[in-house]
Symmetry: C2
DNA sequence: TATTGTTATACTCTATAACTATA
DNA sequence: TATAGTTATAGAGTATAACAATA
C-alpha cells in the first residue's frame, strides 16, 4: 500500500480531473452543435439505444423522476423522442427515440471526437494497457 | 494510425466515460456534504489556492463573468469567500477564500476519495504507466 | 396501500444584453 | 473608447412535495 496520498497519486488524480474537464467540454460542445443541452444529449443517447420508462431514465441520470418529465418534454417537442404506453403496466410511459432522434444521436456520437484524436496517438499495445488500468480502477472484472 | 474507430478504442472511450461519470458523482457528493453545489465547490477550491479577479474565475470555469457574481455572492454570504479591492486597478475585485473557506476547501479535498480508493489498488509502477498514458492523451509534455 | 408519472414550487447555473465605475 | 463587475432577464436543470391514474 502506498503512503496516504503520495505525489504520484496526486499527479494521476490531477490528470484524471483534467481528462474529466476536457471530456465534459467536448460533450457539451458536441451537444450544443445540435442545439441540445448536455442532459438532453445524455437522455437522447440513452433512448437511441433502447426505449425506457421515465423512472429508469431518472435512475440512469441519477436525478429525480420529476426532472425527466421536462427533459423528455423538450426532446419530444423537437420530434426527437416520443412517449408510448407500456402494454404491461398502464402507469408506465416508455420514452423512445424517433427515427430522427436516432439519427441525431448518431451524429452526436460521431462528432464526439474525444474518441479518436487523443487516443489515436497511442499504439494498440498502449491502448490495451490503458484499458486494463481503467478497468482495475473502476473495479471491472476484465472478461 | 489505427482504423477509424476500432473496438479497442471504443472500449477505452467507454471506460473514460465511466470514469468521468463516477468522478462527477463523487465530486457532487463531496460538495453536497458541505452544502455546496458543484460550481460553488469548484470556485472555492480555486480561491483556496489563490485570490482571483472575477473575470479570471469565469475564464477558469469557462462561463460568462455574470454567472460568477452569483456564485461568489452565495459563497460570500456563507463567509467562505470575500471580495477585496485590487490596489492596481480599481475596476477589479479580487475574490479570496476566508480562513473558514480554506478550511472547508481542505475538508472537501480530503473527502474526495476518488483519489485514494481506486488508485490504491495500483502499484507504483502501474500508476507511473497510467500517468504517462494520460499525459500522452492530454498532449502534456512530461517534464 | 404502493407505484408511475406529472405538476407546482423554489433554487442554482447558464447566456445575453444593458448598466456603472473605472481605465 | 475599452474593460471589470454587476444587474436584469429568460431558459434549463435540480430537489421536494403533492397529486392523478393505475397496480
Amino acid at each position: 500500500m502506498a503512503t496516504r496520498t503520495d505525489a504520484l497519486t496526486l499527479e494521476v488524480v490531477d490528470l484524471v480531473a483534467t481528462v474529466v474537464a476536457r471530456y465534459h467540454e467536448e460533450y457539451e460542445d458536441a451537444a450544443a452543435q445540435h442545439s441540445l443541452t448536455g442532459a438532453q444529449a445524455r437522455v437522447l443517447a440513452l433512448l437511441a439505444h433502447e426505449p425506457l420508462p421515465m423512472r429508469r431514465i431518472a435512475m440512469r441520470l441519477k436525478c429525480e423522476p420529476s426532472n425527466v418529465t421536462g427533459i423528455v418534454d423538450r426532446l419530444e417537442s423537437r420530434g426527437l423522442v416520443e412517449r408510448r404506453p407500456d402494454p404491461d403496466d398502464r402507469r408506465v410511459k416508455l420514452a423512445a427515440a424517433t427515427a430522427e432522434g436516432r439519427r441525431t444521436a448518431g451524429h452526436l456520437k460521431s462528432s464526439l471526437n474525444f474518441a479518436r484524436e487523443p487516443l489515436a496517438g497511442l499504439s494498440v499495445a498502449e491502448r490495451t494497457v490503458l484499458r486494463g488500468l481503467l478497468q482495475r480502477i473502476l473495479g471491472i472484472d476484465p472478461t
